[in-house]
């Protein structure tokens, strides 16, 4: 049985933040969940996926976040408790649906989880999604700890049903990827079937209806504000006159700093976990008791601006500060020492830090950047494209996935990236205003997510570029989640359809389409060259299962290769492929048989044909 289905109220478990949130949803009786995978939210969805295979929870990996939000919105409008999970930038994709869903509202509870990523551990930006709550007028909750996150999910579902609005649940990486000891509560009853009652004059957002619905939304907003005033997640600690306003993980660093600085008798902390709409009475009352206030929040000055506005309304002139050159930055995540020293400086109390050693004499430590795996088919494709494009001036728009690592030398096949699907759209623009050959890269899952509209646009507007679809049969980057092109029977799962990328590409009218097997180097280069030579939109679909995924599924295992005595040390393999299975030993290239997957790509580019299958007896265990 899945550990998150453990039916032992009161039992304590050590759970990852994402697991605690999933458990919180199960305790709240969530019956429907949808997602598009994205770090740091991925394990949450993975747990839902696993739970759905042994219970009546409905879960789906949707094609993108907008669709995920729509399927969940429909479930919630039929009265079923639904949760939709995505990373912060995913909410940009889903925003169109969210803004008007706020007008329409829900019947069953609906929680939309957005996982923000301050410091961009694995993201392209560190946008602060609290502004989506402001933009949509929807209520928002922000936990400070793993334990609180679990309890807050149940609260979020109740709040959603009370207000008849979806509730935004905002985490940051340090919630998702922290672990804590969590006490289990009872598992809620799942009501998996609902009913949809026709009510077009409240559910079909033509202008006349929406004008009425916006009024309703503002009424709900006022109701949410009243609830925020008395919510247990908004609370004050201490009765000093040094005020601190905080939310999220900032509260943890503040609490520990109050202890370390021994200023508990001087401070008054306002922790805002129900952080939209903010409770004006609670905040004004707090400010009246303070001599000066420091706002501690990662990201943008979201709380700070509101607190200052409320002080103005109240005619209070006490100093209120947060983001400032000498205080907090809008950049990256915070840490306990930083919060402690800024608090000490602002409130003029002494602060001791441990003596740190001088590290200026450390030798340079070689970097360990993430790199494409040994035998990764993307490496082969990048090599082949570079070979096919030799002599041409090129632009390589790329996309989001493992293959973004093609950025690094020697592959150097990434020139422009802004968001999911942008490889295709930007290629159209580059091809219209430059004379360079535009060759774009997109992964299979990203193609389904948001590459298709760009491709249709290119066919219609007669753009001139080559799109290389790197089809490795899974969503590799986030941990091998399925997508519509995956044969689900390989995972012993029945009842799924399957969409062929080639059929989609041909159906939208791309005039030049070729499928290649990237481990066949010469043939692939020829096909790519023909695609590059084609004037107009051409597509190469490069098909080979992700090497890691193939290993985990125990698909056919090829034999590892070795560099034989025929090697004349040209180093074409190292200089052009730089597969991590290579290493240099006594000035010669060697292949680590434990890493080599036997893709044979290096063997095909060796000018001496010196790379051959390892003799059977030497094969690794």
């Amino acid at each position: 049985m899945h550990k998150l289905l453990t039916d032992k109220p009161g039992k304590k478990m050590l759970l990852l933040g994402n697991e605690a949130i999933a458990r919180g949803a199960i305790e709240a009786g969530v019956a429907f969940a949808s997602t598009y995978p994205g770090t740091p939210s991925s394990e949450l969805s993975l747990n839902f996926f696993q739970i759905s295979r042994e219970s009546d929870l409905y879960f789906e990996y949707s094609i993108n976040e907008k669709v995920a939000l729509e399927v969940s919105a429909a479930a919630a409008n039929a009265g079923v408790r639904a949760m939709c999970v995505m990373k912060h930038v995913g909410l940009n994709v889903a925003a169109d649906a969210l803004m008007t869903l706020a007008y329409v509202g829900v019947k069953g509870g609906m929680v939309v989880l957005t996982a923000d990523d301050p410091f961009m551990f694995s993201s392209q930006n560190e946008q602060d999604n609290r502004y989506y709550a402001k933009l949509s007028a929807l209520p928002m909750l922000e936990p400070s700890s793993v334990q609180e996150a679990k309890a807050m999910v149940a609260y979020a579902f109740d709040l959603s049903e009370q207000l008849k609005e979806p509730v935004l649940f905002r985490t940051t990486t340090r919630i998702n990827h922290s672990s804590g000891i969590v006490e289990l509560a009872e598992i809620g009853k799942r009501i998996t079937q609902g009913d949809f009652i026709k009510d077009p004059l409240n559910l079909v957002t033509v202008p006349a209806v929406s004008r009425k619905l916006h009024v309703k939304l503002l009424k709900n907003y006022a109701g949410a504000m009243r609830l925020a005033e008395s919510s247990p997640y908004n609370f004050v600690e201490g009765d000093g006159d040094c005020g601190i306003v905080c939310s999220g993980v900032g509260y943890n660093y503040v609490s520990d700093a109050v202890e370390d600085l021994q200023i508990a008798d001087r401070v008054r902390v306002l922790r805002l976990g129900f952080s939209h709409p903010l409770p004006p009475r609670l905040i004004k009352d707090f400010l009246r008791h303070c001599a000066k206030v420091l706002v501690v929040e990662e990201g943008e000055p979201y709380l700070e601006e509101s607190v200052k506005a409320l002080a103005q309304e109240q005619g209070l002139t006490l100093p209120i500060a947060g983001k400032a050159p000498e205080l907090f930055s809008r950049l990256y995540e915070y840490n306990p020492a930083q919060v402690r020293s800024i608090m000490a400086a602002y409130f003029e109390v002494p602060c001791e830090s441990p003596a740190v050693p001088d590290l200026s004499d450390l030798p340079e430590i070689p970097q360990r950047p993430p790199t494409l795996c040994a035998g990764c088919s993307h490496r082969a494709t990048f090599y082949e494209v570079r070979k096919a494009a030799e002599g041409l001036e090129t632009i390589y728009p790329t996309d989001i996935g493992c293959y973004t690592l093609g950025l690094l030398p020697p592959l150097s096949a990434a020139d422009f990236l802004i968001c999911m699907g942008s490889s295709v759209g930007t290629s159209g623009g580059f091809s219209k205003v430059t004379n360079k050959k535009v060759i774009a890269f997109i992964g299979d899952s990203t193609f389904f997510h948001s590459g298709i509209p760009g491709l249709i646009n290119a066919v219609f507007n007669n753009h001139d570029f080559t799109l290389v679809i790197l089809d490795n049969g899974t969503t590799a980057m986030t941990g091998h989640q399925p997508h519509p092109g995956v044969d689900m029977r390989q995972l012993n799962l029945e009842g799924f359809g399957r969409v062929s990328i080639e059929a989609v590409v041909r159906a939208v009218g791309v005039p030049h389409v070729t499928v290649v097997k990237p481990y066949k180097v010469k043939k692939s280069i020829e096909a790519i060259r023909a695609a590059i030579d084609f004037k107009g939109v051409s597509v190469i679909i490069s098909q080979e299962t992700c090497a890691l995924y193939a290993k985990s599924l125990k698909l056919s295992r090829r034999k590892p290769f070795e560099v034989t005595d025929k090697c004349r040390n040209h180093r074409d393999c190292m200089d052009n492929l730089a597969c991590p299975a290579f290493y240099v030993w006594n000035e010669r290239i060697k292949i680590d048989p434990n890493l080599c997957t036997g893709c044979a790509v290096c063997a095909q580019i060796c000018p001496e044909n010196a790379i051959l299958p390892l003799k059977e007896k030497k094969a690794p265990a």
Binding site: S122, S144, H177, S178, S179, Y251, P336, P357, P366, P369
Partner: protein, 198 residues
């Protein structure tokens, strides 16, 4: 209770997360408050995995630069890279078996000299316990048990509020039966190695 801050650094695949979860399980069983966090962005692609474990009554789940009480490095260059987490009172435990970064393999970097690396760590921190954990893992019959060897060494120092028996029991709950005997053996070898190094 006194707060104890532990950082574990490793290369993806070395079993840092399992080691952390064994300690977490032991703390749970012992009723010791614990906060943990991990950064494992692109571990599968050869990157570095860092865990922070904080024992005691605190709320923060991360450890600022200079604030670790103990640093355990599963790979020597990564231990050196994480020295910014240490202060002059920090105890450092490191495996001495390098995993060559790919950049070194392709001639784009020089791996630090192991003797110099130990001298530097020793000079800048309170204490260094260094040995070849990979060799001991092999001796235990499981080359992948480097994490368990280092766990043994960590517990031997007595810096964490956890005893060997508690960790052994957690280890039994957290590891697959097929690896249990070799993991326990690895734990013992690490424990002894740290005692000898002390």
């Amino acid at each position: 209770m006194k707060t104890t801050r532990l950082i574990i650094v490793a290369v993806g695949g070395q079993g840092n997360l399992l080691a952390s979860s064994v300690l977490g399980e032991a703390a749970l069983m012992a009723g010791i408050p614990l906060q943990m966090s991990e950064i494992h962005g692109m571990a599968q692609r050869g990157g570095v995995v860092e865990s922070a474990l904080i024992f005691g009554n605190v709320r923060s789940t991360i450890i600022a630069d200079g604030e670790a009480d103990i640093l355990v490095g599963f790979e020597p260059a990564e231990t050196l890279r994480a020295l910014n987490k240490c202060n002059t009172d920090t105890v450092v435990i490191t495996n001495l078996a390098p995993l060559m970064p790919f950049t070194v393999n392709i001639g784009k970097g020089v791996y630090p000299d192991l003797k110099q690396l130990q001298d530097l760590i020793r000079a800048k921190t309170a204490k260094l316990i260094a040995f070849n954990a990979a060799k001991l893992a092999e001796k235990a019959g499981n080359p992948l048990a480097v994490n368990m060897v280092l766990l043994g060494a960590l517990i031997q120092t007595g810096i964490l509020p956890l005893g060997a028996e508690q960790v052994r029991e957690a280890l039994q709950r957290k590891t697959k039966p097929a690896f249990l005997a070799s993991n326990l053996k690895a734990f013992e070898l690490g424990y002894t190695a740290a005692a000898q190094a002390a």
